[in-house]
């Protein structure tokens, strides 16, 4: 388990939309973190060795200022992104998702008194109950990766709203793709 001591500020909770394009590449070497199928077939764990971090004192605060020391800025930017997106009818994590969630896990591992709620959602196509289950599986996929990366299970809560809380109303892939998501809420 990494020892990431940092002063790190948590941004205000918001429903920020991820900027999938234009995200800086994370300066991290990741070895052997393999998540295959979100239906939970094979999961193997490894370690991530971040580069470019400095060791700071071990206190963390929930202040509003960003700290430029502690977690590197790329990780910080990722942690400011609170939404993970999914493909149609899928709860599989893309490599981009994994990178994002890893940053969040890293933050959680550095902020021991912070808990996280993972809210799973689905787009409006198909039946409501199946979408409720799909949202649940998406939240669980994110949670499972966090667990693998060392976050304690009693700090993670998952909930699904299926298609009942869309951020984008309307039909068409533009709207649907924004609704197929897991929202990461800190508390």
């Amino acid at each position: 388990m990494q020892n990431l001591s940092s002063l790190f500020a948590v941004a205000l909770l918001s429903l920020a939309v991820a900027a999938c394009a234009g995200r800086k590449p994370v300066e991290v070497e990741e070895s052997s973190i393999e998540i295959t199928d979100a239906t939970g077939s094979e999961v193997s764990t490894g370690t991530a060795s971040p580069s470019g971090l400095t060791e700071e004192e071990s206190t963390t605060t929930l202040g509003l200022e960003d700290s430029t020391s502690g977690l590197d800025s790329a990780t910080m930017e990722l942690v400011n992104t609170r939404v993970v997106y999914f493909d149609y009818d899928s709860s599989i994590l893309t490599p981009e998702n994994e990178t994002l969630i890893t940053a969040h896990a890293r933050y959680l591992n550095s902020a021991a008194d912070v808990d996280v709620i993972l809210e799973g959602h689905a787009d409006a196509r198909g039946t409501r109950e199946y979408n409720l289950a799909l949202g649940e599986n998406r939240a669980k996929a994110v949670a499972n990766l966090m667990l693998v990366l060392g976050v304690s299970p009693d700090r993670i809560e998952t909930v699904s709203y299926g298609e009942e809380r869309p951020v984008s109303i309307g039909s068409g892939e533009d709207a649907w793709s924004l609704n197929r998501r897991v929202e990461i809420l800190y508390q």
């Binding site: 039946t127 199946y130 409720l132």
Partner: protein
Amino acid sequence: MICRTRKNRIAVWTISLFAVLCSYSVTSHAVFTIEVKRGTEAKIPISIAPFSIEHILQDGLQLSDIIETDLNGSGRFDVIPRTDHLSQPHELKSVDFKDWRLINSEALVIGRVINIGNGLFEVRFRLLDVYREKQLVGQKFRVPAGKIRKVAHQISDIIYQKLTGTPGAFDTRIAYVVVQEGASGIEHLLQVSDADGWNPTTILNSTEPILSPTWSPDGNQIAYVSFESGRSTVFVQDVWTGQRRLITEFRGLNSAPAWSPDARKLALTLSKDGNPEIYIFDMETSGLQRVTNHDAIDTEPAWSPDSKFLLFTSGRSGGAQIYRISVSGGPAQRLTFQGEYNANASYSPDGRLLSLITNQGNGYKVGIYSFQDQSVRELTSTSHDESPSFAPNGDVIVYATQRANRTGLATVSVDGQVQQVLKLQGGSIREPAWSPFTRKL
């Protein structure tokens, strides 16, 4: 423009359902019949002569309008337009059967409504066989004004049973969810109304979503999913008293309740053991029995009429498909192989068919699966349908269908011939569930 069923016969539309919808109005309750001519299933031509009436119903409709809408929507009848009638009898002695043979009507309904004082009305009707020139049924009812709509539906039921042999399902109810803008934000309402959408009563008012209402076999209770605590939980509520019982509130999902035919169990979807699976909850002991065991999504359980099997939707083969499993667990048998998505299946009352939502490349439509053919056929002309529910006689299906950014309710006859749109009002109406037959006291 508010459309009303003043016309006895709406012109046959051959274009898409959505193109002819009128604007919404909170106070209007319009029912449109859109005929989709498919197949050559013979319908019984019948005439409903306007009842002599001394009481106009509040909405301006007459009993004969209600009976006409009922019979047309079933897909089994072809109600001849009032404008074609050659005479207007109210009593048997005034009937000239030739007038009705001339317009090719096989059956004729005549009637009277008489104000007998003290707020009571006597409704009399006769169903006549035009070719054999004899009465098939005659009956009278004595009711207060507020029950005249119900009497109209009961008359429709009697006509339906007499001429088709199948019990009518017109004097029944539906439950459904309304989502609308309220005074202090979005409201979610669980409502119960007549099967044609009239006389709605709100039985639950929440600021959070309500899903999957489903009637107990005796029609006295409704099970549903409520998000009132911030996540999905299952409740059972008495329709008459409002009394509620919390069924499950485990971690994760508590959803998709389904009553067993003897009402002693509820099948449910729970994810407390890791991922969404089917369980059976014992209403008496509160005990839980696990049915499925697979790491894919397993949800939307539905009981077979003989209580031996559960249908459910599973993602285990890569996308949503319908499976069947013994209630005691064991191997699951896949039923649907057509289309990329098949979900939300339930048995017809006779156990021979399933209603479901199917996507075979043309959008999400109400479909019928036949155990005999082992195939799915699409039923509706729309492409964003949800939540199909059989009428208790198995002849019609009610469902929700999306237009623009709202959903509304519609019915389709099981042969796919007739679709009717119900309940146009401001707000989104979804998750319909058809009640069992109403117990006659």
